[in-house]
């Protein structure tokens, strides 16, 4: 694309980098717009779902009967609010923290495939990259808690540090199962490995992946700092935790980070466990024939259908997380930590072991129907073994 732009503008070779830069910025803006749309929809869904759960209507005024424009109104209100920086705070870090918390989540969407091949940058370690980048969000929150110069914020930041760092471990462990089954960390390949009917999805691959999926769900909720694991903000204990002193725009950036992280973990979970862009019924294959078909238009349509599938699954995930928030009380910090280390982590490790054994013992599945595999790992092993054993 950059090359094309460069040719079109007939740039001399010295100025080719301008084209690169322009294209990069354009792509970033598109991605940002996408993320912001997701965030806006998530906030709207949050208010609407909360309203319905609580026997209320939720927003109804702004933008017609269903309050579609509520996120816009909220945003406008937040932008016009007074922007306070407490006298005790470290102004530089205080300003920096919300952006440090939002930027990594944005980075996640760079590697997250929306459909077969619809991905901003095709990493071959995408799953790992996303897990790694998601873990960075915590630093902005710790920093915000520390820089606020408030004891409540400090407590919130310390809770966040302890909680998120702990939950990363079982989260990564449970995410390892699909990686193991697909034999690759490439999310596109993992998604493709679950093509076909819904029983090809990794969540239904064997009992262990099913367990791992629920561990992933718990850890994803905990890792994104959502209720019932919102101990870092815990409004009834720590006033508002790490964002006690934040207001207006900076506060909203924290929230954008939270909602974007929700969408991100849902997206990752969908690709890893719920078949990604493959619908429960292989409609796309019936309609458009097998993948990589001839016509680019057919290909595009099939990918579009995949993206719709993916987005619907993500929305279901987000709504599930929202309804959790409005149903459950909040556990205590020691309970959260012991749940992580005493239940989630050993269970995830056991599931990992079990899934390994399952693949070894029943390579063709329980019913012998077999599973489509990307099998790069196996290939790699075979190549290596052959190389070593053939002199």
């Amino acid at each position: 694309m950059a090359q094309w732009l460069s040719d079109w503008l007939t740039l001399s070779p010295q100025w080719e980098w301008v084209a690169y830069l322009t294209v990069a910025l354009l792509q970033a803006v598109i991605l940002l717009a996408l993320v912001m749309t997701a965030v806006a929809l998530a906030t709207w869904a949050e208010r609407k779902v909360a309203g319905r759960i609580q026997d209320r209507l939720g927003p109804t005024r702004v933008g017609g009967r269903f309050g579609w424009l509520q996120p816009l109104a909220d945003g406008l209100k937040l932008f016009t609010k007074e922007d306070l920086i407490p006298a005790n705070a470290d102004a530089v870090l205080f300003r920096l923290a919300p952006y440090l918390s939002f930027a990594p989540v944005f980075g996640v969407f760079m590697a997250l495939p929306f459909s077969d091949g619809w991905v901003a940058h095709h990493f071959n370690t995408a799953a790992f990259f996303i897990l790694a980048v998601l873990g960075l969000e915590v630093f902005g929150i710790i920093l915000g808690g520390y820089a606020s110069g408030s004891k409540w914020s400090l407590l919130g930041g310390m809770r966040e540090a302890a909680q998120v760092v702990s939950y990363e471990v079982p989260l990564a462990f449970s995410a390892m199962l699909p990686i193991l089954l697909a034999g690759t960390m490439d999310l596109v390949a993992i998604g493709e490995a679950q093509r076909g009917w819904f029983w090809n999805w990794f969540v239904f691959h064997d009992p262990f992946t099913f367990v791992a999926f629920w561990i992933y769900v718990i850890c994803a909720v905990a890792g994104t700092n959502r209720a019932p694991f919102d101990l870092a903000e815990a409004e009834s204990e720590l006033v508002a935790g790490f964002h006690t002193e934040y207001s207006g725009f900076r506060w909203s950036v924290f929230y954008m980070g939270e909602y974007a992280a929700m969408a991100a973990v849902c997206g990752l979970g969908v690709v890893l466990f719920l078949g990604g862009w493959n619908g429960p019924i292989p409609v796309a294959e019936w309609l458009f024939g097998p993948a990589s078909s001839t016509s680019p238009i057919v290909n595009f349509l099939s990918q579009l259908l995949g993206a719709v599938n993916f987005i619907i699954k993500c929305i279901i995930g987000v709504v599930f997380m929202i309804s959790l928030r409005w149903t459950l009380p909040r556990p205590r910090i020691d309970q959260v930590m012991s749940m992580c280390w005493k239940y989630c982590f050993p269970l995830a490790a056991l599931a990992f072991l079990g899934a390994t054994l399952w693949v070894l013992m029943l390579p063709d599945g329980l019913l012998g129907q077999g599973h489509p595999k990307a099998s790069t790992c196996e290939q790699s092993v075979m190549v290596t073994v052959e190389r070593i054993e053939t002199p």
Binding site: A89, D90, F123, F129, L131, M158, E168, I388
Partner: protein
């Protein structure tokens, strides 16, 4: 001379982030700001790894270093500096000594870097979007290959003296096992060291969980 390509732009961007972060670490007088500088610096390093074609290691850098180690450091800062933003006092003498030592070292290192001539000095011309341009006949560095290497399978398939490798010749199984044991020891040791007596007269009830 042609203009910088995509990789060059990104390299310079992240090189500046890395070095800027490092400078923040040295020049800031507040420990938390130093930690933020370290974050920036390590993040830049991770991105440089990605650019150099080491995707797995780059992600690892993000996860372990930036997400783990530095959060640990920040945690330490919070636990040990209750008064927000504890300034670090540095005397003039210390700075003098540091600069005196750093200057010759810098000169030597720069000399070494400049005098370095790659034996096969073919520099890369890589398209920023296709990522790694691997020569024919060479497998890309996938995590699978790294994993195989750690399990004792040689991946490079060549010995320094040019001979063919045999089983276990240049794998990393032993270091891998050693480091696993090492990690376990460290885990127990760190937990032992950081353990703290419950304040006297304070017995948290059993059902209220342990804090340590």
């Amino acid at each position: 001379m042609t203009g910088p390509d995509g990789m060059a732009i990104l390299f310079w961007l992240f090189a500046i982030v890395t070095c800027g972060g490092a400078l923040v670490v040295v020049l800031s007088r507040h420990i938390v700001r130093a930690a933020v500088g370290l974050i920036l610096s390590l993040f830049g390093v991770a991105m440089l790894f990605l650019l150099a074609g080491a995707e797995f290691v780059g992600a690892m850098q993000l996860m372990i270093y930036v997400g783990g180690t530095v959060v640990l450091l920040a945690f330490g800062v919070m636990l040990t500096a209750r008064r927000p933003l504890l300034p670090l006092s540095t005397t003039r003498d210390q700075w003098l000594a540091a600069v005196l030592l750093a200057c010759p070292l810098t000169v030597i290192l720069v000399q070494a870097a400049l005098s370095y001539a790659p034996t096969d000095s073919v520099s890369a011309q890589v398209d920023a979007h296709s990522g790694v341009s691997t020569p024919v006949g060479m497998l890309p560095v996938t995590p699978a290959r790294l994993g195989m290497a750690l399990l004792g399978f040689s991946q490079d398939n060549h010995r320094p003296d040019g001979g063919e490798v045999s089983h276990g010749d240049s794998g990393y199984l032993l270091p891998f096992e050693l480091i696993s044991v090492h990690l376990l020891v460290v885990l127990i040791g760190a937990a032992y060291l950081a353990r703290r007596e419950v304040p006297s007269g304070m017995t948290p009830r059993d059902n209220q969980g342990q804090l340590q």
